[in-house]
Structure formats: C-alpha cells, structure tokens
C-alpha cells in the first residue's frame, strides 16, 4: 500500500491584494511503505506547501492527498496518531520547558512522561529539557521539534528540512537517525536542500521544481536518467588528449577545463588507456563519471526553470 498518494495537486495561494501564487501545479507523488524518501527542490519549489497539504493545514485548490489511505482534507484525525511531523521551523511554546511542551502534546494521545524523557534523551536535549524553550538555540529548537515528531513512535514521519540550523555533528546525527528509522521499516518522507546528505540516506527521491515533480524513483534511477555513461580522463595536455581520443573514434570533450569526459561504458575504460598510449600520451587519472544528485538536481531544475520561463 502507498503511504502517501498525491494526485494532480494544485495549490494557488491568494493574497489580500488579489495576487495569486501557484505553489503547486499538478503534482503527482507516490511514496511506498518503508524506507527513506527524499523530497528535493529549490527554494520556493513547493515542498513545504506539499507537506502542509498532506497534513490538512492547507486546502488544495485542486487534486487530493491521501495519507495512510485516508483523505487528508477530511479524515486526517483517524491516522494522525501514526504520523510524526515537522513543518518548517518547529514551533513550541516559548514559555514552557522543552519537557513540558512534549508532555502536553503527548497527553493528547495518552503518551506519558517516560516516553517524553526517552525522546529528549534521544535528541540530545536531556540536559536542557527543563529550561524554557525561549532560552534554546535554534539548533536546540530544531532538536526539540525532531523529538516531538518522534514522540508518537510513528509509522510515518513527514519531516520538512529536519536538519535546518543544525551543526555538522547534528546533521550527521539526523542523517543516521533517518536511516535507522527507515531501516526499522518506518516510512520517512523528508524534504531537503542538502543533496549530498539525501543521496546517501534516501532509498527513493522525487525532485520538485516549480510545483511539479520532474524526476522520481530510486536514487540510482534518478541519477542515471537522461545521462549517458562516461569516464573522466586526466592528463597533462588536454587538447592533445582530446584529439587523440577523437581520432580513435571516441566521443570526447574537455569538461571543467581540467579533464576530459569520454562517453562510453566505464567497463571499457581500458580502451581509452590504449588509445592514449598509442599516441605517446599517459593519463594521470581515469575514473567513471558518477553523476551526483547535485548535478542531476541542478540540470533538472534549471531545465524546468527555462521551460517555465518560455
């Protein structure tokens, strides 16, 4: 069963002056059960809006969201006990301690102080748990928000940039936490800007641009989509190298001014070595051209941007 199903979701915000912003423009999204699902997109792509629609906070202009099989516009309360969330910067009562905040929320679903203590421990706030939230640093607030999301021991986590404002150690902790939660069989839906983090944490990703999904699937699928395989060659004289490779029948171009990209399956790389050696050229480096999520992301979101501008 799909944990999250979004179909043809459109959201148009209306401002007082009558201006309209299309935040989501026919978004389709399907998140299967279990594992970490990365939801990526540049600023203003509509990530937060999607999450708000999923949580019934914002009413879609068109389309529908289903979470754990129920329509989130009307029946969300039937499944909310199984869903932990962070929406943008988590907001809690500044004049209560972190512990009191979580206890008050927990009581709404019969969750006791013991569970609250455990969660505070887990997010590294045990020491400051009894201080007022308004004395927390923004990273500590973020940790408390993560704690609130974990408090229901949820099957599904919907997290909007959970690593926001955290230090490098905190970012790594969040990444490990997400991975662990995913490995436990929970479904973790996480929006993020930090692509390198997602690349190594997520099982599946969707890339959002201007309110539409421009790529979705397993990380490997998204990385390979639309990109020919290739190898990167480095040697002292790039121009000679390109000439030699081209005359040997390869499709080679100078990339980034300091190496050569040859379009070919990486398994055949030995042919490149020979072609160069035949011309008396010796390479200093040869490696497969592995697309990273960042490159794919920039390509996809730029294309979509240009498409939208026309």
């Amino acid at each position: 069963m799909a944990v999250i199903e979004i179909e043809g979701l459109r959201k148009q915000y209306r401002q007082l002056r009558g201006e309209r912003t299309v935040a989501l423009d026919g978004l389709d999204l399907f998140v299967p059960e279990g594992g970490v699902f990365g939801f990526l997109g540049p600023n203003g792509a509509g990530k937060t809006t999607t999450i708000r629609c999923l949580l019934g906070l914002v009413r879609p202009t068109r389309g529908a969201c289903r979470l754990l099989g129920v329509d989130t516009g009307s029946d969300l309360s039937r499944v909310i006990r199984r869903v932990g969330t962070i929406v943008e910067t988590p907001a809690l009562y500044p004049r209560f301690s972190g512990r009191r905040n979580l206890e008050l929320l927990g009581r709404l679903h019969g969750i006791g102080p013991k569970a609250v203590g455990d969660v505070l421990e887990r997010v590294g706030l045990a020491e400051r748990a009894d201080h007022l939230v308004r004395t927390y640093s923004s990273g500590m607030r973020q940790r408390l928000g993560i704690g609130a999301a974990l408090l229901k021991d949820p099957e599904v986590l919907i997290l909007d940039e959970p690593a926001n404002g955290l230090d490098p150690a905190g970012i790594k902790e969040v990444r490990d936490l997400l991975r662990r939660l995913g490995d436990e069989g929970r479904t973790v839906f996480v929006s993020s800007h930090i692509l390198t983090e997602i690349q190594h944490t997520a099982d599946r990703v969707a890339i959002l641009s201007r309110g539409r999904s421009v790529a979705a699937g397993s990380v490997a699928q998204v990385l390979s989509a639309g990109r020919a395989q290739g190898v990167i060659v480095r040697l002292a004289d790039l121009t000679d190298g390109v000439t030699a490779l081209r005359s040997a029948g390869f499709e080679a171009v100078i990339s980034n001014h300091d190496d050569i990209r040859v379009t070919m399956p990486p398994a055949d790389a030995a042919r490149v070595t020979r072609a160069l050696a035949d011309q008396g050229l010796y390479l200093t480096e040869l490696r497969p051209d592995e697309a990273d999520l960042e490159t794919v992301f920039l390509e996809l979101t730029n294309e979509a941007g240009r498409g939208g501008a026309q």
Binding site: R52, A91, L108
Partner: protein, 257 residues
C-alpha cells in the same frame, strides 16, 4: 478533549500577561484596602458619618468592573494572538487536526481562567474591604438582601469579563494577531460607539458599551432605554456567540501557513 483543555488552561495561567494582571490587581486591592482603612474615622460626629461602610462594596465592584473587563478582553485576544505569533497553532494541528475541537478547547480554557480570575479578584477585594470595615469602619446595613445584590453584581462582572474575553478571542483569532484585535476594539469603542451616540441615538440600545453598563448596574449610562439586566446580558452574549461562530468558520476554512 480534556487533555487539550487542561493544556490550554495550563498555558493560559502561565502567560506573562495573566501573571502581571493577577499580580497588579492583588497589589491594587491591598493598597485600596489600606487607604480605605486609613481614611476611615471610627466615630460618626457632627461633621457627618466619615466611617467606611462595607455597603460601599457594591459601588467598588461596579467601579472596578471596566478595568477587569478590559483586562479580560486583552487576555482573550492575546491568548490566541500569541498562539498565532509563535506558530504553535500549526504544531497543535499536527497532533489534533480537528480544528473545531482545538478552537473550542482554547476558548474554554481562556473563559474558565478569566471567569475564575475575575471572581477571585472580587472575592479578594471584598475580603480586603471587609477587613477594613471590621477594623476601622462599619458593617452597618449588611444583610442578606445586600449580600444577594452585591453577589449579583460580582457574578455579572465575571460573566461580562467572560463575554469580553470571548470577543477579544474571536477578533484576534480571525486577525491571527493581537495588535489587530486591539485596534479593532479601540476603534469600535472610541469611534463607532461615539459616532452612533452622536449621529444615530436611536441605535444606542444596541451598543455594546451601553448594554454592558445596563447589565452591570441596571441603569443606562446615557439616554435612557428600556432593557432589563437579563435582556442586556443576553444581547451581549449573543454578540459574542455570533463573533465566535464567524471566527470558528474562518478558522476551519482558512489555510494555516
């Protein structure tokens, strides 16, 4: 629902504004009782009776009522206004998505606390003045009828405070902001009511201010109009309920961003 209500009551009582209001009124009551006691002369001479009469409590309650009602209105408006300001409405809705429930719990928490606060303040005031009367004044004229009359005033002040806080709550909840609610309240009492009094005197029986005076004191403040205490009270409650219905409908329909 009870957990939700308990949380809101707890939140209301731990608000800074609530604590400041409570502390200031206690201070004011202590000072007032002291002044009353000091100025009271224990004898009645030729110059007239200069003793403090406990029977003046009714007047004291009427006199303090505007302050209490304005404080209640502020508490109501800022309670929900602060929630929007802190963004905690979003958090709460991800724990209890049924918006009507959330709003009812907030309103009920606010009304309970305001009502009890106002009752407590008045009991304290009565206690302070009773002490002053017992020590340096007189309790002459205090009988069952007087007690019933005075208790009636105190109860009506508490009810009206509740109505006031509900109205403040409703406006701030639509505006999602305390300051806007204060502006609306100020504009209404200072501008609208005075314009109506000047330009459309026949509408005066429908004004909040005039009905509030009628409800507390049983008399109309300005040009007289006929309305019993009960009628005035019901009209004010009806206004508050109407505003609350509008604000609940808005809260249910509008995006939370």
């Amino acid at each position: 629902m009870t957990a939700l209500l308990a949380a809101e009551i707890r939140r209301m009582t731990s608000r800074r504004l609530f604590r400041v209001v409570a502390a200031l009124t206690v201070l004011a009551i202590v000072i007032a009782s002291l002044i009353v006691a000091l100025r009271s002369r224990s004898t009645s001479g030729i110059a007239g009776d200069r003793r403090f009469h406990l029977t003046a409590l009714a007047v004291a309650l009427e006199g303090t009522s505007p302050v209490l009602i304005i404080a209640a209105w502020l508490l109501g408006a800022s309670f929900i206004g602060a929630d929007w300001h802190a963004g905690t409405v979003t958090t709460l809705l991800t724990w209890e998505p049924r918006r009507l429930r959330v709003m009812m719990a907030k309103l009920a928490g606010c009304l309970t606390v305001v009502f009890l606060l106002v009752i407590a303040v008045q009991i304290l005031l009565a206690g302070g003045l009773a002490l002053a009367a017992a020590v340096r004044g007189t309790t002459e004229g205090v009988d069952v009828a007087w007690m019933r009359h005075t208790a009636g005033i105190a109860l009506r002040v508490a009810v009206l405070s509740g109505v006031g806080s509900a109205i403040g709550f409703a406006i701030a909840s639509v505006a999602r902001n305390t300051a806007a609610a204060l502006g609306v309240g100020f504009g209404y009492t200072v501008i609208v009511e005075n314009l109506v009094r000047g330009l459309r005197p026949q509408w005066v029986p429908w004004l909040v201010g005039d009905n509030a005076v009628m409800f507390i004191s049983g008399q109309s403040a300005g040009p007289s109009f006929h309305r019993t205490i009960l009628q005035a009270g019901l009209l004010l409650v009806a206004y508050a309920v109407a505003l609350l219905i509008v604000s609940a409908a808005v809260f249910r329909a509008r995006d939370v961003t």
